[in-house]
């Protein structure tokens, strides 16, 4: 990361009536960096993205895009591109017409527009479909064009909301390839996603939001180390909710319960595989019947569970 980040969010706080949507979130993204923002529904991701776009006033804290406040500065908003989760294009218009319209609205000069549109059609490999209406393109093509419309004006920061939702694996790979190319061109990219595999594959860093707070941030390796300390992850599912003494036993073994599912528990297997049999015996002795007991190399799924107490993301 460079000394001056493209995106800098400092202690962002925002409330809707009684509900605190953001409770002091800070984030930075530098040039050529991809940050994946994870979090369960209602964690505050949408509010944070809207604050970054300058569409809502924070109660306190600040947002800077290349040093300027996007709420006050048109220049800051010109440096920003948004790729919504929906196919945010005019379906009756052609690919080229859509790019021209969104390019102009994003601030591209009229005389530079043609070249920018040509370039965008080329790097999304849609040159031969330039004059087709959007509603006649495949889902993957629409996704690529959706991305191109957000990046056409050479923003410094690109915000993507679930960029590959609903596309087949081949189209997903194409989108990932496009994002990596944009990253190599120096864009700072923020992806909000429920797709943990996508986050693990693409992101340089991952930030996890839960209940309006950033509860973790770092590379995948850093987060795994922080969650499991170099141990494997043990995952168990009980057949009945545990008693108070049973919960004490599980917590003592370093396991955490899912916040919305008291039958699911996860944590580091501190003693290695040898300790698995001992854990099973102790659970049986405590009268905790186990429906499933798994041991796996820890990944982002376990990290997410560790920090939020919830399961997320089947890609």
């Amino acid at each position: 990361m460079t000394a001056s980040p493209v995106l800098e969010v400092l202690d962002a706080r925002k409330s809707y009536g009684e509900r605190e949507a953001l409770k002091g979130v800070s984030l930075t993204i530098g040039r050529g960096e991809i940050l994946a923002l994870l979090g369960p529904n209602g964690a505050g991701k949408t509010t944070l993205v809207r604050a970054i776009c300058g569409r809502l006033a924070l109660a306190s804290g600040s947002v800077r895009v290349s040093g300027a406040d996007p709420r006050a500065s048109l220049e800051a908003r010109r440096r920003l591109g948004l790729v919504p989760q929906e196919i945010a294009l005019y379906p009756e218009l052609t690919a080229r017409e859509n790019l021209e319209i969104f390019g102009r609205l994003a601030g591209v000069e009229r005389r530079a527009l043609g070249a920018k549109v040509d370039e965008a059609l080329e790097w999304t490999a849609l040159e031969d479909r330039a004059h087709e209406r959007i509603d006649r393109l495949s889902g993957g093509m629409k996704r690529r064009l959706n991305l191109a419309a957000g990046a056409l004006h050479d923003p410094e920061l690109l915000l993507l909301d679930e960029p590959t939702v609903g596309v087949d694996p081949g189209a997903r790979e194409l989108i990932h390839d496009l994002l990596e190319r944009l990253c190599r061109r120096g864009l700072a990219i923020l992806i909000t996603t429920h797709d943990l595999d996508q986050a693990a594959e693409l992101a340089d860093r991952i930030a996890i939001l839960s209940d309006g707070r950033k509860c973790a941030e770092g590379s995948l390796q850093e987060l795994v180390a922080a969650s499991f300390g170099g141990h494997r992850e043990v995952w168990l599912t009980l057949t009945n909710p545990p008693t108070a003494s049973g919960r004490e036993l599980l917590t003592g073994a370093g396991l955490t319960a899912a916040s919305d599912e008291p039958l699911s528990w996860s944590g580091p297997l501190a003693g290695g595989l040898e300790s698995l049999a001992e854990l099973g015996s102790r659970l049986a002795a405590a009268g905790l019947p186990v429906a499933e007991l798994r041991v796996r190399e820890p990944g982002l799924r376990g990290v997410f569970f560790h920090f939020t107490g919830r399961e997320l993301g089947l890609s």
């Binding site: 776009c53 908003r77 920003l80 945010a88 915000l159």
Partner: protein, 413 residues
């Protein structure tokens, strides 16, 4: 399986409170308003605004006019008017119909004679039915308020022509009847009225003159144009809700453009679209019905421009006030039908009760129709049209301003 679909539709409606209210509450309101309008059109509550000039100013004329003033179906406007003032009031629409008791005509109450009729009804062809209504009222007033005159003139006639007839007179009468029969037959054959008969009580004069007959369709062109202008403007304005739903608004608002840019752009587009839409209707009216569009092009263009702007402003206000497409469509359909009914796009406003006629002035339809009638019927000048133009332009600007204010919540929602 169909029951499941039914349940899904029902739940979707019940959960959308706004749409629910508009589905069941607004039609009731709508019905009440329409019932008032069309109940008025049956004539029970109809009050024709009548302007009167009494050039004769005799005891007889004063008694006749007093009887007319007492009629519930007539609403006298102005007093002590001259004939030209009556014509001007009818031309401007401040009176639905005018009545002039003429000095230079056959005396009121005369039965014979071939001079001009004693009463002149002044009408605007736009309100042609008002003539028939006033004729009935005048006849009613004449025979009920002036029975001595009506009967006296008949007795005079009997005394002069039929009392104490001699044999020679009988023969002459028979000869006269035979002659009258021949004359009547000849007149019918020639397509003329009989040269013999009772003096007509009144004649009719149209203030717009013969040229207006060619432009008769201009009224309907204006009425239809404004109605569909509103529908298409709302349809276009609802795209704002679709853009919000599809993420397009999010994409645009993340950039340097703000919501004002979007609303302004749509206002401009809808105004131009409305202008072209009305132009198509009037060009057809020009080519097919010979309305004099080229002769009134500049005034028509200004009227059309401000009418389109008013429709665009209103449509954007509706679209930005609603949260869902369903709300917007229901609200706009009801609003447009009510405005169009009140504004005279469906039934001429003078058919309505006076209170609804007054209410009509809040609709763009009324002002647009007034302006089109001014251009094509009354040959008004730009100065005459300033008031309706200003009302329509103001409606457009106010609509745009309100829509921009309402759309602000889209920026933060």
């Amino acid at each position: 399986m169909s029951g499941v679909v039914f349940r899904a539709m029902l739940l979707a409606l019940v959960r959308d409170r706004g749409a629910l209210a508009m589905t069941f509450l607004l039609p009731a309101v709508f019905f009440v308003i329409f019932a008032m309008i069309f109940a008025g059109a049956t004539g029970e509550q109809l009050r024709l605004k009548l302007a009167v000039a009494d050039e004769l100013d005799t005891d007889l004329s004063r008694r006749l006019l007093a009887a007319l003033a007492a009629e519930e179906a007539l609403l006298p406007v102005g007093s002590g008017l001259a004939a030209d003032e009556v014509r001007e009031m009818v031309r401007r629409g401040t009176a639905d119909v005018g009545l002039i008791v003429r000095a230079d005509a056959e005396p009121l109450g005369s039965v014979g004679g071939f001079g001009p009729a004693p009463l002149l009804i002044v009408s605007d062809p736009v309100r042609g039915v008002a003539v028939a209504m006033l004729s009935g009222q005048v006849q009613k007033a004449y025979f009920s308020a002036l029975p001595d005159v009506a009967l006296g003139s008949v007795v005079d006639l009997l005394e002069n022509e039929f009392i104490e007839l001699s044999d020679d007179q009988h023969a002459a009468l028979e000869e006269g009847f035979a002659e009258l029969g021949e004359e009547a037959s000849e007149a019918v054959a020639a397509g003329q009225a009989s040269a013999w008969g009772f003096q007509d009580l009144f004649e009719r004069e149209d203030v717009a003159g013969k040229a207006a007959a060619q432009n008769h369709v201009a009224y309907y062109a204006g009425a239809v144009a404004v109605l569909f202008l509103l529908f298409s403007a709302v349809h276009g304005a609802i795209s704002l809700i679709e853009e919000n739903d599809s993420g397009i608004l999010d994409r645009i608002l993340a950039g340097p453009a703000n919501i004002d840019v979007l609303v302004n752009g749509k206002f401009l587009y809808l105004t131009v679209q409305g202008f072209v839409q009305i132009a198509v209707i009037f060009v057809i009216a020009w080519l097919a019905y010979r309305i004099d569009l080229p002769g009134h092009l500049a005034l028509w263009a200004v009227t059309t421009l401000v009418s389109s702007a008013a429709a665009a402003g209103l449509a954007l206000t509706v679209a930005t006030a609603c949260r869902t497409r369903r709300q917007a469509q229901t609200l706009s359909n009801v609003a447009i039908l009510v405005l169009s009914a009140l504004g005279g796009s469906m039934v001429p406003r003078f058919f309505m009760p006076p209170a609804l006629q007054q209410l009509g002035w809040i609709t763009p339809n009324t002002w647009a129709l007034e302006a089109y009638i001014g251009v094509f019927w009354r040959d008004e000048t730009a100065v005459d049209l300033i008031v309706p133009w200003a009302a329509l332009a103001l409606a457009g600007v106010a609509g745009l301003f309100i829509a921009r204010r309402l759309a602000r919540r889209l920026e933060t929602s």
